[in-house]
Symmetry: C2
Subunit: 107 residues, 2 copies
DNA sequence: TAGTTAATCAACCCATAGGTTGAATATGCC
DNA sequence: GGCATATTCAACCTATGGGTTGATTAACTA
């Protein structure tokens, strides 16, 4: 699978996005990450593996802990991709703006 | 499934992203969209349904044709989400910048 | 009315995703 | 060495995704 697909796919799960949000506040171990979720530790471990494969997190080794860190680098690619379409959602506002200016002049 | 997940999920397929790129150049019918792809028309039809459910395209009715139009609105949500993490990939550059400035002063 | 074209529906196949439970592997602590 | 803790591995289950082929629906055309 290509990188962008892998990243989008990793982001398509709310649990994984929540994990990223958690890691945005700082490094955390698997148990710490898993704590707020109503799923098993193993399930969280799997999510972490998906995030790791997508390059969104990196993992260290400290004794029996595997501290996870956010790596936002792949999100740059997402930002670049989405920027290509920016004009399409702004256009709408431009059109609205044009329309409002037009009726303003007319009345 | 929440909207953001649905959108990310829809974007996680290269064929679907290619369809969006095609529609960025203008409206097209299902057959026109399907033409460049090495998969069946039905498969493309399914992809279009996924994109439609995610709100990324809208479809009209003109005789037996179903012209598809890009609707980039949901991508705003993606842009907003990813922007939250922007500082994390920029930080890295800041750190690099700081580092470069530092060694420059040192030598 | 019959035939062609556009698109969808339906049934099916296989691989993968997300979850489970239970066992295994390290590592630190007495 | 023996035990607790942190994490992963393995096997399994079920649902879904992306693809196929064949049949169906709807609209134009001769």
């Amino acid at each position: 699978m290509d990188r962008l697909s892998e990243v989008f796919s990793a982001l398509a799960d709310p649990t994984r996005r929540a994990i990223l949000a958690r890691l945005a506040e700082g490094e955390a171990t698997v148990n710490q990450i898993a704590e707020p979720f109503p799923i098993s530790l193993q399930a969280v471990s799997k999510h972490l593996k998906v995030l790791e494969r997508a390059g969104l997190i990196t993992r260290g080794i400290q004794a029996q802990w595997r501290p996870c860190r956010l790596d936002a680098a792949p999100l740059r690619g997402v930002a670049e991709w989405v920027t290509e379409y920016q004009r399409f959602w702004e256009e709408r506002y431009d059109e609205l703006g044009t329309y409002l200016t037009k009726i303003q002049k007319e009345n």
